[in-house]
Amino acid sequence: MKISRQEVENIAHLARLEIDDQSKASLCEQLSGILDYMDKLAHVDVQNVKPVSGAAFMHNVLREDAPHPSPGPDVTLANAPKKDANYYLVPRVVK
């Protein structure tokens, strides 16, 4: 399947990535090759096969809804690139 430049741009936006022009060209080519290879899955008979989402035993894991001590804002925000008191700072969202 051939992936167009436009598609790469759309997907990159969804993935919150910015791809430069040079990388776009090579990505189109690489992705097309990779997706061509993936197309072999179309040949598998999967009628009535239930998809699996993991290899764990599928049962619900429950616990008591009991309060536990929180690490607190100093610990939680220790790695924040930008913060103000107990808040993460991000660029302005509302113009």
């Binding site: 969804l14 993935a15 990535l17 992705l31 993991g54 764990a56 220790a78 991000v90």
Partner: protein
Amino acid sequence: MDLHTLTLAGARRLLDEKKISSRELTRALLDRIAAHDNTINSFLMVDAADAMARADAADRQIAAGNQTVFTGIPMALKDLLCTRGMRTTCGSKILDNFVPQYDATVVAKLKQAHGVILGKTNMDEFAMGSSTENSAYFPTKNPWHLDYVPGGSSGGSAAAVAAQFCCAALGTDTGGSIRQPASHCGVVGLKPTYGRVSRFGLVSYASSLDQIGPIARTVEDAALVLNLIAGHDPMDSTCASQDVPDFTAGIAAFEKQGLKGMSVGIPKEYLGMEGIDPDVLAVFENAVKVLTELGADIKEVSLPHTAYVVAAYYIIAPCEASSNLARFDGVKYGFRANHADDLIDMYKQTRSHGFGPEVQRRIIIGTYALSAGYYDAYYGRASQVRALIMEDFSQAFDACDILLSPVAPTPAFRIGEKMDDPLTMYLTDIFTLSANMAGVPGISVPGGFSANNLPIGIQMMAGRFDELSLVRAAYGMEKSLGLNRLFPTL
């Protein structure tokens, strides 16, 4: 005595007999790292002061008679295991300054046992790769031949064990990332059953496939490490509550009865495959011979969906990655690009500058495969094919106890050889991906050498939670071949 030559079990004996101290052992390994790791580049970070402090604390425990198996044992950790107060980069620039505020469960267990952490080992960025060339910092070299890759993504851990920089190391395996570098570096690598070991504090790549496991010099050492890290953890809801046996019992079982009564399946789809190096085939055929001599019953089995494993895996893993890696947005931790116009622009600039090319490629593939209009054709279908692959394995393990195969189609390749062609790199994972897709355990044990003296491993896989069979058979192979006594000259 050359302390770096000690296995984990050997070091334990000498520590218990007070013939060596953890301080001496740790110092010797730190000196060896300082002398040789500038050529091999297996560590991203070594914290000598922290290691020596832990060694001294361990020596005090030993003096008081309070030691356990890991007290005073110097270990290396793949740099995607969170270590409280110790930088954890995942081989990525986006986590260059990340200092975890808590320990991964496996790290907490090691610390609780008064183990010594020498440092954090190099890896493909976010564990995406088969050569450790995707590290954002530097490639690691194969200690057997510096022009060759150590394999990946746990290439730093495997190289550090092969170079005798540590008693053992922890790696992670999402599609072969413990077994393949262990094979390329001539050491033992064990991927446990999915759910055997807690993933809490492991930076996620593909959560339904990731598993932490040991890389060690001997099968016994690998079993000891698994003893330490296995077991239920309420912090990981996928972590199994199965009983944890003493995995060294597999060694005792071998010593008692060899491999008598064990049936070994050889998947017929694997052997007809094109592109398997003749040296790899020769090592594999020899392994079949060895297992037969040890009393195993060899039979042919079938894994009918083998041809679809790579395609299904390289949809599922990137889909999960695209979701897991959405958390790296420059807000809560790690790198943030400055001078962004607005929030979305900040996300984009942060991620584009923070992630390397392979990580971006997999995020793009995953985002594409999960996007509206393509979900059913890609992720949906791959998840159905995964169900068929799991069924293949379930049937195979009805017919035999373990499956035998090569680990990789070729020995280690040259640094740079496959970097321009991602698909070719993906295809080299054919023998290891299935164990992750099916959630079964797998081990790579040294099997021989290529014509140019590069190690070649043998893979064994067993049914879920049957690591004991792997330990038994792999130990038999190790004992027969004696390859665990060979090490590269640095």
